[in-house]
């Protein structure tokens, strides 16, 4: 939405994951960026590489897998893929705030909530001990936690899931980050709490003007908060553009399938919700061609031979781009060069 320079940008990122028995290309040549004050939603099924793409360059993938990254990821004037681990740690704490899917397991069961917040505020916002404690309490209050003074000294097991996710948000904000990454922030929560958490994230973003990257498989969530959307399929970008463009004028067969599978969304156009037939491909073998070909209704012979280029169909600061020449040709959509 803003014309400002991106504050976190990824160029042509390739991520291979190696475990004892398998190696997977989780992210295959993806570029994206986020600007201050903007919310970008990264949408895809589980295993589409959305989390790996966003958290991988920050070194936030769980231990036990070996991560191999190529391409570029830049934030705060540094190249994350070649920066030293100490500087990367510092950048993670200072520049990025991260909210994880399941607050119950993402918060350390042996540590009290409040002191963790105060510590972050002291380390990265340069507050004194006393001020940090006050800041922590006000962060808890701001995150919608009632009786923050009492919650300050609580352990995670003493709070409910919704409260914990609020605490998680408070923790992510404690260092006053520039980019907030929310990895499926509402998936583990009750439906009634989901909306509150999303509203909280949106409110914080408006007040602080930070950039938000929202990772989700739920396209319904996208509609309510995102400015821009990137649809990932099997580690590659299928379609991207403003939320308006992608949600109301989807072009890629996968995006259309995703939207059709959401109940009550665009119900006037489609009688019943439909599922996309088949399963995402395994990314163990590096097959050439379009990853979606196996499940696509419009598949042509050429689809399996070359990777479809990402083509721009409406140019603006947030261009609408689609990686499916077949559908563009069939529907006669003009491509901007």
């Amino acid at each position: 939405m803003s014309d400002a320079q991106p504050i976190y940008s990824i160029e042509d990122l390739v991520i291979d994951l190696y475990a004892t028995t398998v190696s997977v290309r989780a992210v295959d040549g993806v570029s994206f960026n986020v600007r201050p004050g903007e919310t970008v939603a990264v949408v895809g099924e589980s295993g589409s590489g959305k989390t790996v793409m966003t958290l991988g360059p920050l070194g936030l993938l769980p231990e036990g897998v070996t991560v191999d990254m190529k391409g570029s990821a830049r934030a705060d004037g540094s190249e994350l893929l070649s920066i030293g681990s100490r500087q990367l740690s510092d950048l993670r704490g200072r520049y990025f705030g991260v909210i994880f899917q399941d607050p119950m397991s993402a918060l350390n069961p042996m540590l009290k909530i409040g002191p963790q917040l105060a510590r972050q505020a002291r380390r990265f916002a340069g507050l004194s001990q006393e001020a940090a404690r006050k800041e922590a309490v006000s962060l808890l209050a701001r995150s919608g936690i009632p009786d923050p003074e009492d919650r300050y000294n609580r352990y995670p097991h003493e709070m409910s899931g919704g409260m914990l996710q609020r605490a998680m948000i408070a923790l992510a904000l404690a260092a006053r980050p520039r980019v907030l990454i929310a990895d499926e922030p509402t998936t583990a929560l009750d439906a009634t709490v989901q909306a509150q958490i999303l509203e909280l994230i949106r409110q914080i973003q408006r007040e602080d003007g930070i950039a938000v990257v929202l990772i989700t498989h739920d396209i319904g969530v996208v509609a309510s908060v995102a400015d821009r959307v990137i649809v990932l399929y099997a580690g590659q970008v299928a379609e991207e553009g403003t939320a308006m463009d992608v949600l109301t004028r989807p072009v890629h067969p996968y995006t259309r399938g995703l939207l059709a599978s959401v109940p009550d969304f665009r119900a006037d156009e489609r009688a019943a919700t439909r599922e996309i037939p088949g399963l995402p491909p395994n990314q163990i073998r590096l097959e050439p061609g379009c990853r979606f070909a196996e499940r696509c209704e419009l598949v042509e012979a050429g689809c399996r031979q070359h990777r479809p280029p990402l083509q721009t169909i409406s140019a603006s600061t947030s261009p609408h781009r689609v990686a499916c020449p077949v559908v563009l040709k069939r529907e006669g959509i003009a491509v901007h060069v």
């Binding site: 475990a19 070996t66 050439p288």
Partner: protein, 303 residues
């Protein structure tokens, strides 16, 4: 670990088995390997150093140390196998019976097992030797009675779990008898687990035998036994430390071998990150695949 641990045998690092196989072979062929009678004394050649006649020298009675160490392998192996088989038989029988019968019988048997496990096995073995008196067979008996409870507990757990499986009910409906169901359907699962555990436990048993002999409560002096050789050598520790070090090393090597085997079992299901040479190999393979893919894509475009 379950029955598939056995089935996955082809994935094991076979090297891990080599030292154990070596120990077993030395134990079996000890009589053929030993150049001298391990208890033959030779007062004209006491405390000799290493030489072509006596590869590892002689002890204070002129006995050949190499022969005694090889003979010690045989003693350890035989005693260990007897105890292991006996303890397995008793443990599996009692544990399976408890698990299969259930009810009060099970409760009573479990209480006995739990009390038997309240003290470390070796302390129980020591107490039993105190009651039975010292000697080879009382050591074997004591170790067996001290060792069965673990296997009993494991067997019971497996039996209880297997009885929940639907196929047992199916077999019963088809008119299979208790004994048939147990031997045919349940016992294989019990043995699969217990034998894997026992193979790793063998090291602890070899250690226990040596410890008892070291304390003068196991294998009696003329017979070559590592623990007992070591305590013998303690009197000469300042002049001829070799008499202490050699049997100790032999014992440690055997225990390390069995523990390595146990570790291989334990590591079966633990995922580990890929490092070093493997990672470089995988990276190369990935790069090759990528090149192939690019060749296909650009190749067809240019064609």
């Amino acid at each position: 670990m379950n029955i598939s641990a056995i089935r996955d045998i082809k994935d094991w690092p076979w090297l891990v088995l080599l030292p154990v196989i070596g120990f077993v072979l030395i134990g079996i062929f000890a009589p053929a390997i030993m150049p001298y009678d391990p208890s033959a004394q030779d007062y004209s050649a006491t405390l000799e150093g290493m030489s072509w006649n006596h590869w590892l020298g002689t002890d204070y009675l002129g006995r050949d140390v190499f022969s005694r160490i090889v003979g010690g392998a045989r003693i350890s192996l035989v005693a260990m196998v007897i105890v292991l088989v006996a303890a397995l038989a008793i443990g599996v029988t009692i544990g399976s019976f408890a698990g299969y019968v259930g009810g009060r019988v099970e409760l009573v048997l479990i209480s006995i097992i739990d009390i038997a496990l309240a003290l470390p096995s070796l302390v129980i073995a020591l107490a039993l030797i105190g009651i039975l008196g010292t000697g080879y067979w009382s050591m074997i008996t004591a170790l067996t009675l001290a060792w069965w409870a673990n296997y009993a507990r494991m067997s019971r757990a497996v039996v209880t779990a297997e009885l929940q499986q639907p196929y047992i009910e199916a077999a019963r409906v088809m008119g299979a008898g208790h004994l048939w169901i147990f031997v045919r359907h349940i016992l294989p699962h019990v043995l699969a687990l217990v034998v894997v555990y026992a193979s790793a436990d063998a090291g602890a048993l070899v250690l226990a035998i040596a410890t008892l002999s070291f304390l003068g409560l196991g294998v009696a002096p003329p017979t070559p036994e590592w623990g007992q050789m070591l305590v013998d050598g303690m009197s000469y520790i300042e002049e001829v430390p070799r008499l202490v070090v050699l049997p100790g090393l032999a014992l440690t090597l055997v225990v390390v071998s069995f523990n390595l085997l146990g570790e291989a079992f334990a590591l079966q299901k633990v995922p580990r990150p890929v490092r070093g040479a493997t990672l470089r190999r995988r990276r190369k393979a990935r790069a090759r695949e990528e090149a192939e893919r690019n060749a296909v894509e650009t190749g067809t475009t240019s064609a």
